[in-house]
Symmetry: C2
Subunit: 200 residues, 2 copies
């Protein structure tokens, strides 16, 4: 692709791959900011947006985090590390949403009922699921600007929370490393459509 060329979404998803290593160059902050904006456009159930993007740029911090992530080279070689965290204080977000929806009493009560029906593990898992949607938006958002990425689950969430000094309601869930790949795209293996799709 040429710089500035617009990629079709079809091209974006085909060209995106999990970069196993980056070359250490910094993604310009204006570009990173665009990736964040596209990510935050991701939908979440009830629009509760129960997550936070914790962004790490500092090398020393990345070194510490890498130890809690099997020393995978993406952590220390990336430009920006996004730690997608579940935000389990769901009702705080519902309260804020309610302020933006005067008159939508029934809908707001439905949201409150949903949140009240979750126990603490349920709230965490539900919020975590939503972060995976945002993760996908970040991966494609980066690729749409010619930037590589790698989604990663292989890290110790408790250790990450400690190292990043996060409050208890912010739960590290999945990582998105962003940068310039230092490893070529391999073959993207996918199971046959016939194995993945069931027509009913």
């Amino acid at each position: 692709m040429f710089m500035g060329e617009i990629m079709e979404f079809k091209q974006i998803v085909q060209q995106r791959y999990a970069a196993r290593k980056f070359d250490g160059r910094k993604v310009p902050e204006t570009t990173f900011s665009e990736i964040v904006d596209m990510t935050l456009a991701a939908p979440t159930s009830f629009n509760i947006q129960p997550y936070k993007m914790v962004v790490v740029r500092d090398s020393a911090m990345k070194e510490k985090l890498a130890v809690a992530a099997w020393n995978q080279p993406q952590i220390t070689t990336c430009s920006h590390l996004i730690v997608f965290c579940a935000n389990t204080q769901l009702m705080a977000h519902v309260d804020k949403l309610a302020l933006t929806m005067p008159g939508a009493t029934q809908y707001i009560e439905m949201m409150r009922g949903f949140v009240n029906g979750l126990d603490s593990e349920g709230a965490k898992v539900w919020a975590q699921k939503q972060t995976y949607i945002a993760l996908g938006f970040a991966l494609n958002g980066a690729m749409s600007l010619g930037i590589n990425s790698c989604p990663m689950e292989g890290f110790n969430s408790v250790e990450f929370a400690k190292i990043l000094n996060l409050p208890a309601h912010i739960v590290p869930t999945v990582l998105c490393t962003i940068g310039y790949a230092d490893a070529p795209k391999g073959t993207k293996f996918r199971f046959d459509k016939s194995e993945m799709v069931l027509d009913k």
Copy 2:
């Protein structure tokens, strides 16, 4: 947008919204097939692809499912209903993947160790999380072709499994209705970036 115009990813995520109702028109099968292809390009952890897209086109089936989804109008008015299901038979996929990776013994053993370390609830939740990435690809894939969609969690998974006659290891997780919106895009409310992003 004009037909055939290429949208930037930035435009796709801005224009996408949760359509509350569709007009009942059918999305051409060639277009739907492209959406499926883009969806299946979504990454999953270890590339295990632990999900199935169950696709419903039949009106009578949609009517039955709507009853188990609070009679939300998207179900009966959409063109194609995708039921994203977790596929909890993880080791079956690992075994198939292993056949495509001769020599990658260590990596395959790592995958097996990961899967063996999950109990049945853990396997389900983990597989479910992966479906949310694919969901986002479907939503953006549809919009990239000018097609509307609505992601939905409000349905009874057990009832859906019964109505669709799914085996126990295929667990309905999240819905993606696809079609032509019969309701305009409202305002897309998002919390301020400062509330969603934490720089460390």
